[in-house]
């Protein structure tokens, strides 16, 4: 609070539509109001999100590194033991940087769910057919959003690299090795090299997103643990944990390795110097939180109706903008994620949902809105991290610097002025 008064003393109040939010950000807070209820919700949902995420990143890496260009990847969602036991680089005893104090292998709740699901213990295939499983399609959709928006966003060097001669040469080696004993595909590769290269680029994005989420999962687990231990005093604490986390792991390399018959092909070597922050996190936030593509159940793709913008930069359909109310019906993709999180809600969140709206029956939407709140918190962390990295401290004595900070905050919040943005809604507790 002291910081806030100081800042206000130095700068006149903002005239922005969301002046309250701007002032909160300038005081080191988040876009999400700081209430115990909000804190409880976002931490609870982080935990519920992290468990399927633990599946996502393992499977994404498995697909990128092992399944690779299999034309009929029927079993790509069946993670082999090797990848379930793959050590997360940011959890466990042998971590590069121990963010979560838990173990490095797959989360026990995830393993339990994979074994028993919501029904009974039965073979994997039956679980798959019963749709009693993690909706990996959601992760792939996020990957596709990053791929499709990749070139236009201008973040990092990852996407331009995919078009470089060097990348094509690396990919060529891997593709030839992969189809060494498959003359049909080899012939096809000769005829349509671009077909395979484009698939390979997609695989590189699988790897990119997998490596990104490998970090987010332990971050969220740790936040949940800290909260359970009574560690966070408010939403800003949680956000600051995220900000610190972003910096701590900013330098994590982003790469794409493929393992073919025991040999590693470095399609994107670590030595390219691609970093978590620039090549994965920022593109991810832009592509998935902000942009993605319109849900077919809410927008017409009719070219004459002009409901889909002409330019990718005008796409604003991410979770920060999405209408969660239709979740559960046809054409609303986040339903897959909401369903995934439904399995892993912490008990206090289940109790909380039972007390509101329709309780058990509309938990899918209640948790969706909680998720939206929590993603506003994550986005706040990204905004604050960018401010730390590129601008000035909040207590900078130079008013010009503070003005620059404010201009930055206002520019960020301007993106939520659109009518469909949910920033307005999450300010109130009645939005649930």
């Amino acid at each position: 609070m002291t910081i806030a008064t100081e800042t206000k003393a130095k700068l006149p109040p903002s005239k922005h539509e969301f002046a309250d939010v701007i002032h909160r950000l300038e005081a080191g807070g988040a876009m999400l109001p700081d209430t115990p209820e909000n804190l409880m919700q976002i931490i609870g949902i982080y935990k519920a999100y992290a468990v399927p995420m633990d599946f996502y990143w393992r499977d994404l890496l498995y697909i990128a590194e092992r399944v690779f260009l299999d034309p009929f990847p029927f079993f790509k969602y069946f993670i082999p033991k090797e990848y379930l036991e793959l050590h997360n680089h940011y959890a466990g005893d042998d971590a590069d940087l121990r963010i979560w104090r838990g173990e490095a292998t797959a989360h026990p709740e995830l393993l339990e769910f994979m074994e028993k699901g919501e029904t009974l213990k039965m073979p994997k295939l039956l679980h798959h057919w019963l749709h009693d499983r993690v909706n990996m399609e959601f992760a792939e959709e996020c990957m596709r959003a990053m791929l499709w928006h990749g070139k236009d966003m201008g973040w990092g060097q990852f996407d331009p690299y995919l078009d470089s001669e060097e990348y094509i040469a690396n990919a060529d080696k891997a593709i030839k090795a992969y189809f060494k004993y498959n003359p049909v595909m080899m012939a096809l590769y000769k005829a349509f090299p671009d077909l395979f290269l484009e698939q390979c680029r997609q695989m590189s994005y699988y790897s990119n997103l997998g490596l990104f989420w490998e970090i987010m999962a332990p971050v969220f687990f740790e936040m949940s643990d800290i909260y359970d231990e009574g560690g966070f005093k408010g939403v800003p604490d949680a956000m600051n944990f995220l900000v610190n986390g972003i910096f701590a792991i900013a330098g994590r390399p982003i790469y794409h390795h493929v393992y073919i018959r025991g040999e590693c092909y470095e399609i994107i070597p670590k030595s390219k110097g691609f970093m978590w922050l620039y090549e994965a996190a920022l593109p991810y936030v832009e592509a998935v939180f902000y942009r993605t593509s319109p849900f077919r159940g809410t927008k017409s793709y009719n070219a004459q109706a002009k409901q889909v913008p002409d330019h990718q930069k005008d796409f604003h359909y991410g979770i920060l903008y999405a209408d969660v109310f239709p979740v559960g019906t046809a054409g609303i993709p986040p339903t897959l994620l909401m369903q995934d999180m439904l399995h892993f809600l912490p008990p206090y969140l289940v109790d909380y949902y039972h007390q509101h709206c329709r309780g058990e029956d509309d938990m899918l939407i209640q948790l969706g809105i909680t998720f939206q709140r929590s993603m506003y918190c994550v986005t706040s962390a990204v905004i604050q991290a960018l401010r730390t990295a590129l601008l000035y401290p909040l207590d900078d004595p130079n008013p010009k610097h503070l003005q620059a900070n404010r201009a930055f905050f206002e520019a960020q919040i301007d993106r939520f002025k659109r009518p469909e943005a949910r920033l307005r809604n999450i300010q109130s507790h009645n939005y649930r």
Binding site: D323, F325, P326, T329, C357, R358, D361, D362, Y431
Partner: protein, 518 residues
Amino acid sequence: MLSALIWIPILGAALIGLWPAAIPASRARLAALVIASSLIVWTIVLLSQFDISNAGMQFSELVPWIDTLGLNYSLGVDGLSLPLMALTALLTWIAIYSTNESVERPRLYYSLILLVNAGVIGGFLAQNLLLFVLFYEVELIPFYLLIAIWGGTTRRGYAAMKFLIYTAVSGILILAAFLGLTWLSGSSTFDYEAIITAGLPLTTQLILLTLLLLGFGIKIPLVPLHTWLPDAYVEASPPVAILLGGVMAKLGTYGLVRFGLGLFPETWALVAPGLAILGAVSAVYGALTAIAQKDIKRMVAYSSIGHMGYVLLGAAAATQLSLVGAVAQMVAHGLILAILFHLVGVIETKVGTRELDILNGLMSPVRGLPLTSALLVLGGMASAGIPGMAGFIAEILVLQGSYAIFPIPTLICVVCTGLTAVYFVILLNRTCFGKLDNDTAYYPQVKFSEQVPALVLAATIFFLGIQPTWLVRWSETTTNAMVAAVQINVDRQLANEIFDGNQAGKSPPVFAAVKQKL
């Protein structure tokens, strides 16, 4: 056997209403449900015992009552009244079940509903004209009270009074016709069987028949005598609206066929063209007014006017097919109207409005009312005559049966099924489709028990649509006999020559025959 159907509800009503000790609402409801269920069971027993190859009255009961007046307690059931009786039993149960558990003054409410039930069933069973009028008038007062006390808004008093006056006049007209009929035909009693109009001069018959038609026309109701209907249906609470539209209005159509067609086989042909046109006009009028409505309950109410037009058309044409169709349409319409009113009621309780411009996106599976919406789609489409549901086969029978006699009104009615689709699509598009409003869409959930009536009705509608034999088999013999009577009375010889009963399209040219005779 039949008396039980009348006296069980009356006794039940008395029991619930007059029980000395205080009964909690749930107990009253339970008692009413038990009575209604026993009526259903009893009806099923009757259905199983009923001989469908017999055209005449079955299970007849006759107790002389007031000889001097010619009033006898004479009951009987045939293929015309049986399906309607079964419908009444089912809809009474539905009405009781779908009543809000915390209804005010539950004892009075449930006893009134049971009284209504007794009155209507009595009307269907009465084989004495005076007895019929008695029952016909008896159910008015409970209905009046049900609308006036448990009705919707401040207009309920107005609606109830309007309803009362209209239908009372209807009763008076019918009474007048019956009195005149018995008096002029020289019958010593009012027993249905004893009355023969054949000897009366045509003019007299026509006047009497006109009186009857006006009386029943108010009840059905036909345009332009319908103005009590939108108010009464809309102001009544959904269970009462179900009884009004599903059950009570059927007394009108039943009376039309039973007493109009049944007692005046000779003159029927004379009024039939007018009736057919009136049927078509009602259908068009109901459909077009429904399109313009902004209130879904009012829309459904007007749809009722339209659908009654088909019944009228079928009755007017009076071919074997059209008459079976008309009876089937009465049943189908009762079921469909009931499901629609019930669902509209559910929507109103949960969402708090019936305004088309406010409702939106109720199909949404988590926050909306998905099952209610799905059933509403079904009900609307059944009403619009989509095959596979009860409404379709009834309409087809009426239309095919009437086409040969009244091609133009029939084709107009075909157009009306299209218009019906228009307003139901408007209703469904606005209510079920679309997006929920984030500011308001925190509706309470529909409990399973609230869905039960609609599920039962939907299952019945589907069953009768897929197995329509169960809809028509009861009435076929009776209606055939009635049609035969119309023709035989016109000209026995002529009828014998022409009537071969093979093809609907080759129905004898009744009207030509009548004209010749005139």
